[in-house]
Symmetry: D2
């Protein structure tokens, strides 16, 4: 961490400041220039609050050099994290995993049929919403407990591990048999929920918030990991910008950037990011080429008759077609920042 | 709501679609053009899911004409909502209320001293954080129960009603004696929490999320109001944009826009929005001129010795000076979209 | 175009309004609801100014159904546009073209050496800056005339067509022998320049502005095409958002979206978008997989000794390696919205 | 400027680097830590290109401490700049100036009538567009030469100085008698145009681009000032964000921030920023309270019959009413960062 002091900083105040830093166990290196004094802080600065320092009258600017996250940081954990699901399917370290399924669980017939289709096409986990965060209090909010039950039925029939979203820590008991707990974009900084998930021994799929930086995403992963749960999967699903041609703006460069910063697996969700089913295959291929560790795809078996499913759902045939192309592209994917080889993987 | 059908929409599918709409209690008006057919939907469309309609193959575009919120909508509730606190202080309908206090509650001495200062300067409510949402799991997270206790001590001494933030519905029992419960920007779409707050009979101060539109803010207010609690105060605290000169970008035009759309009181928080104490007075004056119903201001009595307080805190003298100017500007404030007269208010 | 009239619109004013529309050659279809009247406009609405209609007291909302661009619109020109350079290299309609070279032209030796390297690796056009738009008036602004001369030298030696940026219409005479004129992001809405380029018979590479929507990009293409020049290549180079991990945010979904909306070729520039050379190969592979028609890549032969070149330049070896992977991925690229087959292309 | 070197930077490369810096006339201060070496650069760093340094393999991070602009920088020019127009009206240093008039010049009658109205209400300059930047090539682009002529007619009749926009340096001869030349948001980084304006001895009103930072705005002012023209007026007109409730997002905190960074006068244009006439008065009052040095307001005398004028134009009566309130608020405006007293000013 570097602190730039103002030109006219009183020596007495500077001494108070450096003493305070030394008491926190940090070393300080001073470099006195004509217009500014630069203080270099050496030691563990992850607990130092930048705002507190900025509040001081003598300080002009503060910059971190070291990242404020540790458990999620590749610098302290060089090897890619590999997460293994109950079925033996793996993600990370060259293992590619596709999670597919409907936006919302509707009926037993629907969820089992979709589960079978996506499994046949190569998906290795079933996703489906039982608790749905909806902007409007008047919109359908999911089947809740019943939805969870139906997902577990589909697991029994197909053997596919289940990924589903949690919206409140109080619902945790219902998620006991769920394989991967998803934290939605709106809850990425619901810190009380993250702390509870840190106590589990179960993979957590953490979606990036619509206006959150990659550093904030990694800090939220850090909340879970600091609690003892190291099985975190990072998920990019687009950010909010001025462009309205797609629902959100999905920057695939976050894949190599996250791989550079962290050892955690990175998946992308092109269905929610774009909001339009026709754009899902191109973005899924793009993500595979950029080196993603997996995909999260919405698939519905009968969107014609299902009025409650979104315009971002692929039909099973299109999903199967997309999966073939993903398989063809995977061997040429960029792997610059991972320690992985193509592991043949789950596809 | 207007639905534009594609040029080649099959009549049979169009009939299925209109039947489905009629079953939802909506009337349809068709206007057939050369290239498109326009369907106008008449009736209560607040429960209609735009995404479901967009998912249909025959649909090209959907646009709402009516807002999807009702309880919060000025069209259905013309008069400004006025909220009265335990002390008799009011906000809304021409009553201006200033909530001031430190970012975090630290000690009994600190909170009581700040409370007395802000009261002397004209504030009518005390704000202070007991539960602090922090990006880093390693940062100070507030005094929790003890913080709440100290706030209530300060209330006893000064008579000022208390405003403080809740982060999880499970903490609600601790907030029984709190006067105004604050929902922070990160929890604006924590829908489970909003539902719980809807069951209370207590004012809720709802902060706009960093990447949320005004419509989403009003939909979150609607979650609380749909549960039966109509005492919602809307709070603007800046949005996230590309500009980094200030912490966030605070658009004061949201004040008249929200007054136009809703009858709920609107306050602004220039301390968090700008992140720099020197910018708080100009933005507070600007907000008053634009017609805000109140302000939320961070004040700390001794930032020199309090390293845990942020650079956005005003000292009591500066706060008092700002309050005088706010009082001078208030009579000339814009009132175009409210039903209020300057009520002399709480200042 | 749809116009929603206010509830209380006076019939006399409505009549004035519809007469005005009829005088512009438009038909109107009225659909009178309880709360609103919907007016559907049929005919050529591309000259209708939305703002003018919104200014009317009786109007609540206006929405376009038809896009305001015609020449660039795929609806009126179904086949992919294919552009052929002097060398015979093609772009569009399944032809893939890579333009590569240094950020700035520095010396004859440098530009010829880079040109030979990128040609050997499969690039079919040489890019290099002679006029450099720089944020600071004190920064190096390019070699100007001399830079153009050196580029043409490199063309003589290698046969590669030249792509270079213009910054002002007054410089046009210098660009007579240039093969593709580039309009930079900052000039995307320099309408006077676009009008001048519309008079040429020469390909124009039009970069999307940092805060411009895809519709605005297509409207700028329309400026050039309306003047008679139909050879426009669209270029995505990232937009400005709150994220600072990369220089800009590059949404590859614009590739399929632009292919859906327009018949013009679409290339991407990952060097400027990301600002970091390590991210160029993954994003280039992603772009190829998403169906881009080409790439624009910064390559420098000796960044070690060239202090004036940016951190986004690849060395020739890395570029060659990237090109191989791009070739491998191309056959599996998404082609959903184009009329193209993989044409073996220029690689 | 501070440069952070990588942990494993080779001493030989570090020496090459520091020698290069010394050759540029800079001193270097090294501070060697366990994980990083910090190099502090002392001297005139405004010509140092950050990108060039970042391109070096040994460099991890670079940060400016000193701003890259000098002429526009308050640190080197403490006193507020005051600009005097031909009429004697002043702006800056406590002088408040309102520029008002129609979006486009239409007819002699219109422009003279509006000029008389706005003068009567207290405006001291007339604005009106002769060259109009339009997104669509098919939209009305202004009266050009004829528009300039009509503006000068209005000046003859009323004595009001004229402010009007230039779109291309080639049109400069037409602007000889214009008092203030406006550079629109889309041309803020049209550097060739800025260079030409730097050669004039005439006030330039420079609008902030829709996606430009305040630093970039000041760098564009620097382009003009570096050429010798120090009469630059900065104009905020909103930036582009995800929010669509208003046309743009207008952050009034830029007023105090710009006053802190620069001595140049700052005006705001609420008409273009909000795009809705009803929002113009509240934002104008807010801007006055925040300490703006002036306003730019669209006024039209007969919007009912003028279909080509935008929805953001005020009628003269509303403008006059707004002006009265602005005058009432001005004495209480924030002046924290200026050297000015309320100069009674031009109102």
């Amino acid at each position: 961490m570097i602190v730039i002091l103002k030109k006219n900083a009183e020596p007495q105040q500077v001494e108070l400041f450096t003493n305070w830093l030394h008491n926190m166990g940090l070393e300080t290196h001073m470099s006195v220039g004509e217009n500014h004094t630069i203080v270099g802080l050496v030691g563990d600065t992850s607990r130092v609050d930048i705002e507190s320092i900025l509040a001081l009258d003598i300080v002009e600017m503060v910059r971190r050099i070291q990242e404020p996250y540790k458990n999620a940081n590749r610098k302290f954990h060089e090897e890619d994290t590999v997460i293994t699901l109950c079925s033996g399917a793996k993600i990370g370290g060259g293992h590619f995993l596709v999670m597919a399924g409907p936006c919302s669980v509707e009926t037993e017939e629907q969820i089992i049929s979709v589960a079978q289709s996506v499994k046949a096409a190569g998906a290795q986990a079933l996703r489906g919403g039982a608790f749905k965060p909806r902007t409007s209090p008047y919109a359908f909010q999911g089947l809740h407990e019943e939805g969870i039950r139906l997902l577990l039925e589909a697991k029994k029939v197909t053997g596919l591990p289940i990924v589903t979203e949690i919206m409140d820590a109080q619902h945790l008991p219902l998620f006991e048999d769920i394989d991967v707990i998803q934290v939605g974009a709106r809850n990425m900084q619901n810190f009380e929920l993250l702390k509870q998930l840190g106590k589990l021994h179960k993979p957590v799929l953490l979606k990036r918030g619509l206006c959150n930086t990659l550093q904030e995403l990694l800090m939220s992963a850090e909340y879970i990991m600091a609690g003892g749960n190291s099985q975190v999967i990072l998920c990019e699903r687009g950010i909010r910008t001025f462009e309205t041609a797609t629902r959100n703006t999905m920057d695939l460069s976050v894949i190599p950037v996250l791989h550079q910063l962290s050892h955690l697996p990175v998946v992308v969700d092109p269905s929610h990011a774009t909001g339009r089913y026709e754009l899902v295959p191109p973005m899924a291929l793009g993500a595979a080429a950029c080196g993603a560790d997996g995909l999260m795809i919405e698939v519905h078996n009968d969107p014609e008759h299902a009025l409650c499913d979104g315009p971002q759902s692929l039909r099973p045939e299109k999903f199967a077609d997309m999966m073939e192309k993903v398989r063809a592209i995977r061997p040429y994917a960029d792997r610059s920042f991972t320690t992985s080889q193509d592991a043949g993987s789950s596809l």
